[in-house]
């Protein structure tokens, strides 16, 4: 078969910092290539080069050659890439929040019907053929096996569904030859990811080549025809999937052996010392509504919250921290918490890592240092020099703590003053986590703590959570789409379905039990 795409000796550096060095591999039509590598290995950068993203040209372009369908191409802009037949789903969402699902899918390719004026004027004055747009969008979603109403606006969707909308947008393009997916499954639960992988297989069977980036190695093995591994910008591996396995990939990625995952907190016993009691909580978070959640968190435990996207699991912490309107009652250490008030939970000694790192978790244009110490500075007034009425940010004292965090979480950066927006996705996630950890809360809520984090760093981060739980007695509530992750570190796992608690299971409960609760067999009209 003819080679569709050939990356030929690609090199790229950001102001002297080499992030890609001699990357060279090929893709055939209909082939699925998995691109693996640690956080900051250069995966997204390589894809940005292929897709002609602005950042690349702005930072001095790249060296090497891209050969597409036998011709050397210089992709100057995403528009060029689309004309070549390259589609991309970025690591961060690129949807227009106020537009409907259908309009997002058909963006710039809207079906038009001639209007009165357009008979005498150029095409841009034609009218949108809305019914047709909705029909075709629904068709594209249908091919993915998704039932999403094409007429709702995108900001009302759960994050998991946004991902499907992005894919639908790409596969709806008739000239698509190569589809690039940068961590598409990071926001999906296992069952959703499963369905997603099936879709991708179908896409590939239709002759479309796929480049697939994921930190979930099971998926990589299951889906990809071949695997390319980057480490610190160098290509260290390019092989057929059948000649390798998960462990080899993991080791090649991180450059060291990884411990096997084990359930860390089975059968710990706790006194009935309730630190947080949630009663009949109802949170109006678009796309993730919870209807009636009652939960007790015991002091010292790690409680997991799982469930499918769109069923309300993430709304619980968001409601408690006042991000969305909520009703019901929450008692913290026996006293009622006025959770509707912004900052109240923080002032009481809780901390929160949002699942939406770009939208909520970070100040993208500020330094790593400011991002990390922000909450502690705001809530506990640390890292400030005080002069009577006036206070000044104390960079020096912040620096120490920040450098320590950078080391402990293995954040790949040029130093505490680097702008967060210029970090790789996984490293941004670590900064978000660090911000909450620095506050040394009594009760820590983390949503999707390892989203976009490579397996090596994931182990590190999960171990870190367990460590602070054991050593500092921090109670932790983890919300995650990844059941395995929850089982690794939690004492108990609550499954949320249709906006209510379907049940609470021990981490070593059989898979079927989890599956049953998630599918919401229990119904749940409480």
């Amino acid at each position: 078969m003819d080679t569709l795409l050939h990356f030929k000796n690609i090199k790229k550096s950001f102001s002297g910092n080499v992030v890609l060095d001699g990357v060279d591999f090929k893709i055939q039509p209909g082939q699925i290539v998995a691109l693996a590598g640690e956080n900051g290995a250069g995966k997204s950068t390589l894809m940005n080069i292929l897709f002609g993203m602005n950042v690349i040209a702005e930072t001095g372009g790249y060296e090497g050659e891209i050969i597409f369908e036998g011709k050397s191409v210089k992709v100057q802009s995403p528009l060029d890439a689309m004309e070549l037949g390259i589609g991309m789903v970025h690591q961060e969402f690129m949807l227009l929040p106020g537009f409907t699902v259908a309009r997002n899918i058909k963006l710039n390719r809207e079906n038009l019907i001639p209007s009165l004026i357009s008979r005498i004027t150029p095409k841009s004055y034609q009218m949108l053929d809305n019914p047709q747009i909705i029909k075709e969008a629904a068709g594209a979603l249908g091919r993915l096996g998704m039932e999403i109403n094409p007429e709702v606006t995108v900001d009302k969707l759960p994050v998991g569904h946004m991902q499907f909308v992005e894919i639908a947008r790409e596969i709806d393009k008739s000239n698509l030859k190569l589809l690039v997916l940068d961590e598409p499954t990071a926001v999906l639960t296992e069952s959703e990811a499963e369905r997603f992988l099936k879709c991708i297989r179908k896409v590939a069977d239709a002759g479309i080549a796929v480049i697939f980036i994921s930190h979930r190695l099971d998926e990589v093995i299951q889906l990809a025809d071949s695997v390319v591994i980057l480490r610190d910008g160098q290509m260290v591996f390019d092989e057929k999937t059948e000649n390798t396995d998960k462990h080899q990939i993991a080791e090649l990625m991180v450059g060291r052996k990884l411990e096997a995952e084990s359930l860390m907190n089975v059968n710990r016993s706790f006194e009935e010392d309730i630190i947080l009691e949630i009663k009949h909580l109802r949170v109006n978070m678009p796309g993730e509504r919870s209807r009636d959640v009652s939960l007790k968190v015991r002091r010292g435990e790690i409680l997991g919250i799982g469930g499918l996207a769109g069923h309300g699991k993430t709304s619980i912490s968001n409601g408690i921290f006042g991000m969305y309107p909520a009703r019901g009652s929450v008692h913290y250490k026996g006293r009622p918490l006025s959770f509707g008030k912004i900052g109240e939970a923080l002032n009481q000694g809780m901390a929160f890592v949002s699942e939406d790192r770009k939208g909520v978790g970070l100040l993208l244009n500020e330094s790593i240092a400011l991002n990390m110490v922000y909450t502690d500075m705001k809530v506990n007034r640390r890292f400030l020099k005080k002069y009577g009425f006036f206070s000044q940010f104390d960079k020096k004292s912040a620096r120490e703590v920040v450098e320590q965090m950078i080391q402990e979480l293995d954040i790949r950066c040029t130093g505490p003053d680097q702008i967060v927006g210029r970090l790789s996705g996984g490293n941004q996630q670590k900064v978000c986590m660090a911000r909450a950890l620095i506050t040394k809360p009594e009760l820590l809520f983390v949503s999707e703590p390892t989203r976009g984090i490579d397996i090596g760093a994931k182990q590190l981060l999960l171990n870190y959570l367990v460590k602070i739980n054991k050593e500092q007695g921090i109670t932790i509530v983890v919300t995650s789409s990844e059941l395995n992750e929850l089982r690794t570190i939690c004492d108990r796992i609550a499954i949320i379905g249709s906006g209510v608690v379907q049940g609470i299971l021990a981490p070593d409960a059989p898979n079927v039990d989890f599956a049953l609760l998630m599918s919401g067999e229990k119904g749940g009209n409480t």
């Binding site: 912004i342 109240e344 002032n347 929160f352 939406d356 970070l362 100040l363 909450t375 705001k378 000044q392």
Partner: protein, 348 residues
């Protein structure tokens, strides 16, 4: 060479390069046309000094995410009102200036607060709304100047009602700050008092930006959801920013008037937000990002350009008031250019 130029343009900003080139050309012309250099330089210094605080008023709004404060005339009217009160009661000299500033503050706080209530209801189109607020306030105060009960014979019309359009400050505090500690070196007047005062205001704002409150404000502007999740009340931050900006506008006009030698009432404040905005934009600020450095650099570049352009234009084309035309074209052109670079609705 081309690459170098391109990179330079990128890091320094294209409009800034153009302005710099234009400034260079003007300085060259100044020598060619034998325009007295020390005199022009002295004028540059004064212009920079008296305009700086007005430009500084852009800082809080941009920090808190309300964008350029086109409603600067609101603060200016408060400053003018305070100025009139200081004249009415014959407050003279440096003391008079500081008294006027002090009097302006409560007015500015009140007006800024009222205006902020509106700003918090029109998120996303603050700049458009603020332009109209600025204009309406000027119109309203045109009536105000006629009906307010000022009685000092030196500031009201000899016949009829109301305050005069232009009030010379000779009797009170004409150039008092400029002349404080001033000295002359190589024929250039250095207005030390003025520099000290504006330096003080720059320092205060700079310190504020790095304070607890300042950092809260910055987060509210940069990412409201981030701010909320950290317990920052975004609307309060916007309110405080609007008030601060108004207060700085009020103080700014008093410094401006004393250095200029006149209070100008009625329609004079109408367009006064524009040179301030143009200056910070030239300095490299965007509607979402600003530093004290941007303010100072921008004011220096913009005001020296105007200060030099006036004599140059006058000696090139003696008849007519070309410099005024140049000023209007340049300042509005800059604003238009910078605003057009904002990505549709999103602040880059």
């Amino acid at each position: 060479m081309m690459v170098l130029l391109k990179n330079l343009g990128k890091s320094f900003g294209f409009p800034r390069l153009i302005i710099l080139a234009f400034l260079g050309l003007l300085i060259l012309m100044m020598f060619v046309l034998h325009i007295p250099v020390p005199l022009t330089l002295s004028q540059c210094l004064v212009r920079i000094g008296i305009n700086l605080v007005l430009a500084l008023a852009m800082v809080p709004g941009i920090m808190a995410g309300t964008g350029m404060n086109f409603a600067l005339p609101l603060g200016i009217e408060c400053g003018l009102l305070a100025g009139m009160i200081s004249l009415q009661y014959n407050m003279k000299g440096i003391g008079g200036i500081f008294a006027a500033m002090a009097i302006s503050i409560p007015f500015s706080i009140l007006a800024g607060w009222a205006y902020s209530q509106l700003v918090n209801r029109v998120k996303g189109s603050e700049m458009m709304v603020s332009t109209y607020i600025g204009f309406s306030m000027v119109a309203l105060m045109c009536i105000g100047w006629l009906v307010l009960p000022f009685s000092n014979a030196s500031i009201v019309w000899p016949i009829g009602d109301g305050l005069r359009t232009t009030i010379t400050l000779e009797e009170w505090y004409d150039r008092a700050l400029n002349q404080l500690f001033a000295f002359r070196i190589f024929g250039v007047d250095i207005p030390v008092g003025l520099i000290l005062v504006i330096g003080g205001f720059c320092l205060i704002v700079w310190l504020f930006m790095r304070s607890h409150l300042g950092l809260m404000m910055k987060a509210a502007g940069a990412n409201p959801n981030f701010a909320r999740s950290n317990g920052v009340k975004v609307d309060s931050m916007r309110t405080i920013a609007t008030i601060l900006s108004t207060v700085l506008g009020g103080i700014g006009i008093i410094i401006y008037a004393q250095g200029f030698g006149f209070y100008q009432l009625y329609n004079a404040p109408l367009m006064m937000a524009f040179p301030a905005i143009a200056a910070v934009l030239i300095g490299g600020a965007t509607p979402s990002r600003i530093s004290i450095f941007h303010v100072i650099l921008g004011t220096i570049m913009f005001q020296s350009m105007l200060a030099i352009a006036t004599p140059v234009a006058n000696s090139l084309i003696p008849e007519g008031n070309l410099s005024e035309v140049v000023r209007t074209i340049v300042s509005n052109g800059i604003i238009l250019y910078a605003l057009s670079r904002m990505q549709g609705g999103k602040r880059s």
